[in-house]
């Protein structure tokens, strides 16, 4: 059934603001700029937009973005929860809306002044206790000083190291490769600033076993993309980038970054669930992927995802990165834009944009012969993924 969605919808427009630590303007302005840029890139008039999808945590209401672009009739709008786990979710929703005829032109956007306005890295602090579920749930962690995403991931990463013999340098190899790609990407915050493994090892602790250089940036910026049907896409100026699969996943005993109570905490079963759906919907397998955008808010989960998506056996991603297969020149270059470690942290949507560029053949660190690109979303949380490719 889901195979029928394969290739029915295409990404035909791509827009983004610059990425920075202080955008100097409002989030709604960033959202509007990115949406208008994506529509211009697609060659679609804003009045044609009849669908919008974004993250539940995005501060820019669909109605206001729609008003700013002069929209006329908005028939579909949806939001995906779970922070960065949402990254590919809006594309699944847009795909379903278009494939079912609910909407014709859907724009996905994510805009945030995450660095200059709030900073997720500061963690859960200063919130008055209330009986709402999320507050009671944070209560299992925050009184112990486990308040930040890095610290929640650290607990899982330490167990992963213990069980599989991965070491901090293995996480470092992910960071070094990402910063190498960022160094040659003019849009990246760390353009021209590669790092060495020694620098990774020497960087200060955030939450052991995570060094500073295991953690993604905090960024301001916005990214938007336009999706339409296969038929419509063929009439437009850009080479269509087809959605071959998209999926969401929440697995057994799932928590928000603290799924510490499962029999094993060294895997990411929600990512495995997304992977199975993607391979099934697309009819592809890991060997059909030429480059991947693996969500990299924290490096340890890049290894786990390589395993869950089938690029490495369980516990064997350490060999994958030791051989440099994820790095420039490897057989599966990962995060060729520099990732969220190197380019910017736009909650993974800048990673979808990189996948689109790789399929278009317009990436700054272009991989040759790209047919299919896998994109994953935030880890440790209910998550999502997609595969884009050429026809």
């Amino acid at each position: 059934m889901t195979q029928q969605l394969n290739g029915q919808v295409a990404i035909v427009g791509l827009g983004a603001t610059e990425f920075s630590k202080d955008s100097g303007r409002s989030e709604i302005r960033l959202a509007t700029e990115a949406v208008l840029a994506a529509l211009a890139d697609a060659g679609i008039d804003p009045t044609e937009v009849d669908g919008l999808s974004t993250f539940a945590v995005d501060n820019n209401p669909e109605r206001e973005v729609f008003r700013q672009i002069g929209g006329k009739e908005l028939k579909f709008f949806s939001r995906i929860p779970e922070g960065g786990g949402a990254a590919c979710g809006p594309f699944l929703h847009a795909m379903m809306a278009i494939a079912t005829g609910v909407a014709n032109v859907v724009v996905v956007y994510r805009a945030m002044n995450e660095r200059s306005w709030y900073r997720f890295g500061a963690g859960m602090q200063g919130k008055a206790p209330d009986p709402f579920f999320e507050t009671t749930n944070f209560g299992w962690y925050i009184p112990h000083g486990l308040v930040s995403p890095a610290s929640w991931v650290a607990m899982s990463a330490r167990r992963y190291m213990h069980e599989y013999g991965a070491v901090s340098e293995d996480f470092g190899r992910v960071a070094v490769a990402a910063r190498d790609f960022a160094a040659t990407n003019p849009a990246a915050f760390f353009y021209g600033k590669p790092i060495t493994l020694e620098e990774h090892q020497a960087s200060r602790w955030i939450a052991e076993p995570l060094h500073l250089l295991d953690c993604c940036q905090e960024s301001d910026g916005a990214v938007a993309m336009v999706l339409v049907s296969r038929e419509y896409a063929k009439k437009l100026k850009q080479t269509p980038v087809f959605l071959k699969a998209a999926a969401q996943g929440t697995a057994h005993d799932q928590q928000m970054m603290t799924s510490y109570y499962r029999p094993s905490i060294s895997g990411l079963p929600e990512a495995g669930l997304v992977a199975r759906q993607l391979w099934q919907m697309s009819g592809l397998s890991p060997k059909d992927i030429q480059t991947a955008v693996i969500y990299d808010h924290f490096t340890p989960f890049v290894l786990t995802q390589l395993e869950e998506y089938g690029f490495a056996g369980r516990g064997e991603a350490k060999y994958f990165v030791r051989e440099g297969r994820h790095a420039r020149g490897g057989d599966l270059p990962v995060n060729t834009h520099g990732g969220q470690l190197g380019e910017a942290y736009i909650h993974g949507v800048n990673g979808v944009a990189e996948a689109v560029r790789q399929v278009r053949g317009s990436a700054v660190n272009q991989v040759s012969g790209v047919r299919n690109v896998l994109v994953t979303a935030g880890t440790g949380v209910p998550t999502s993924g997609l595969i884009v490719g050429a026809d």
């Binding site: 206790p129 009184p143 308040v147 939450a207």
Partner: protein, 314 residues
Amino acid sequence: MSEQNLSWLDEARALIGHEYGKVYAWDAVNQPMVRQWCEAMGVDNALYLDGVSAKARFGANVAPPTMLQVWVLAGLNGRFPEGSATDNPYEVLQIIERNGYPSVVAVNSEQSYRRYLKEGEKIAFTSQIESVSEEKTTGLGTGFFVTQLLNFYDEADALVGQMRFRLFKFRAPERARPADKPRRPLPGISDENRFFWDGLKDRKLKIQRCTACNTLRHPPGPACPDCHSLASDSVEVSGRGRIYSYSVVHHPTLPGVPQPNPVGLIELTEGVRVVAGLVDVDPAHIEIGREVEVDYLECADELVIPVFRPVGGA
């Protein structure tokens, strides 16, 4: 107790039996004061109030014996009438205080009377320290019981009554004041998790149990994921377990949280896992699999959180 041998205590005890005074009353025993006192105390005995009964029996109005000390209290300005002694009957308390016992509380007061005091009599009193106890520890703290004996005399220097007044001069126990407790981020409390946080206040680590299938589960919630029963209670667990994973957190720094901050994911003997801080560990040498046991950390805002320390020391 070794404190008995302290020289300062000897100095204090040397004052036992020394007589202070005499101190005189401002006013003679008088009927208006008797009436006011009886009103305030709820005494309606005709002997003191009708102006007839006492005269018939004693030839004069008399005052309630319990008013003994009333006649010789200092004025609001703390002064006594001209001619009263100005020596300090509380030297002994000052000595004890200087040596680390700043607090004082009155313990009890016993009076005894030789006769009724008649209207128009003017009395005076002397005092002495009768005893200083050995160091004692009570619910209030640690210190010394001091007994003062007051002797009351009429104008002919005849004893009319006595009063023994006992004080406890002490220091409060060395317990952390609320301001000294670490202020931690507070959990949200709901019907599902209240038992856990309340249990910690009683130094009990409690875990939710499904009363239908007896499965323990943590974190708690309304339903049993195994059998779907909504019925549950909680049980106190052993507090023993092993470190399943851990992190030493360096950033962000939080007031009231150790820096760096070792936090463990503890697999309890009963099989469930809980997150809690690790204490008495070297952050550089934490071992997964290490056996640990629970302790309780009192925090500000009446929060108590579990912490775990290695069994048998670090």
